[in-house]
Symmetry: C2
Subunit: 263 residues, 2 copies
């Protein structure tokens, strides 16, 4: 049993790894380059970022001290030595103009009410010729089989809550116009679609259930408190999301990755 | 002016070509193999299919005599010699059991009220070890920026009209469960996402405007006659779809391609 569970969690890790690869594998920074990770949160992306560019120097900033503390613990625990942390607000960055060779931003713009202003602030600390990489999800890109109005309504609760907090849960599709409007050059956006059917049971588990549905389920109380859904309706939506993880179910979601250059 | 227009239509052809490649490029049949194209319509896919497998023998069938006539003219005009046409109903195929080495079905299941029965009929004329390839769109996979309720309502008219006629405009996402339920083995589905922003003006023209929006626009009168939309509302939706083709617009759509094997 224990052996089975080990193999099982190993496979789940591999599948989570497949998602990490989908988003990160084409981001590698040259030795010696100064890279800013803006909005690192608890460091969920920092380990991958630092490992994929072992000779780059990563500076990871976040506005929240408690997140930074967790990030530091996590990254040190992973034996990463090329990332350092600093508490900073994206809108008031404590760096010299044009200090960084490259900038990396993942799952951050979705939370900001002024993403264009944030991009302008980031651009200011980027060297001419340097790149910015932005990765965001898009909850409006989620669709599934069996189709379900209840599931869609539950997802809409998440979108609406994020909007109420000033964010945009459907920002992924907007990366091209945003980076273009911020004045970045040669903007290129590539969608990274996650397609899950039951031929990939590990991805069903790692993405459909433990990532997406768990995320929607996580806003249950907030959505109900905010009057966005009745408990029974929300729970029916969650059941329908789990229903898409059965043998005849299908789940689709798309992340967007943008690359732009500062003139 | 003429020179410009020639270059322009050449570029449009190239971009339409990019879409054809996206769907067809990985379908190549061995020399001498007998391939059934089921539901060839006016032969829109037949030329590509036959050209990509020049030494396979393609038999293209459709239930509609007038479509077949157009297909024959078009395919002969293209100098294709390895495709022949035959009028036949997918539900009453005039072929011996296990006659074909491979089967190809593109944009057909979406029109059928009993797609699973159709797959069973097709399976009967396929040799053990032979493959079926199915390509379908999914209108529920369309999303865009700027977001628009009116545009979404116009698309829903198309989905609803197709449903009224017994079809399913969102069948793409269901290919895995359908082929599995039909008893095909080793079913593998790969989504083919079309992502369009203004860095690809030719794709904006060829896909967002001339393919998708034109298709929705094409059901205007039927949708209004059927009472699915008021003219002003529908037209607002079409305007909003064209709006996604402007410089800050983005359009996303996903086709699904499935491959299965007969045991």
């Amino acid at each position: 049993m224990h052996g089975y569970q080990s193999r099982e969690s190993e496979r789940l890790r591999d599948q989570a790894g497949a998602l990490v690869d989908l988003l990160h594998s084409d981001t590698r920074y040259p030795p010696g380059s100064q890279v800013l990770e803006a909005g690192c949160g608890v460091g969920a992306q920092t380990i991958t970022l630092a490992r994929n560019s072992p000779h780059a120097r990563i500076t990871s900033v976040d506005v929240a001290a408690d997140s930074l503390k967790e990030a530091r613990t996590r990254v040190e625990g992973a034996g990463i030595t090329n990332a350092e942390f600093r508490q900073a607000d994206i809108f008031a960055l404590p760096f010299d103009p044009a200090f960084f060779d490259h900038i990396f931003v993942c799952f951050v713009l979705e939370h900001l009410s002024r993403p264009l202003d944030a991009l302008a602030k980031l651009k200011a600390v980027l060297k001419p010729g340097g790149t910015i990489t932005v990765i965001e999800g898009d909850h409006g890109s989620a669709y599934f089989h069996p189709e379900s109005h209840a599931a869609r309504a539950a997802i809409d609760c998440l979108v609406e809550l994020q909007r109420t907090r000033g964010g945009n849960a459907m920002i992924g599709r907007q990366l091209y116009p945003l980076l273009s409007a911020a004045g970045f050059d040669a903007v290129h956006v590539s969608p990274r679609m996650v397609y899950v059917d039951s031929s990939r049971p590990d991805l069903v588990e790692a993405f459909t259930k433990r990532t997406f549905t768990a995320m929607v389920e996580g806003v249950r109380d907030s959505a109900i408190s905010a009057g966005l859904a009745r408990p029974e309706a929300f729970d029916a939506g969650i059941r329908d999301l789990y229903r898409t993880s059965e043998s005849d179910g299908v789940f689709c979601y798309t992340f967007f990755k943008a690359l732009g250059t500062k003139r």
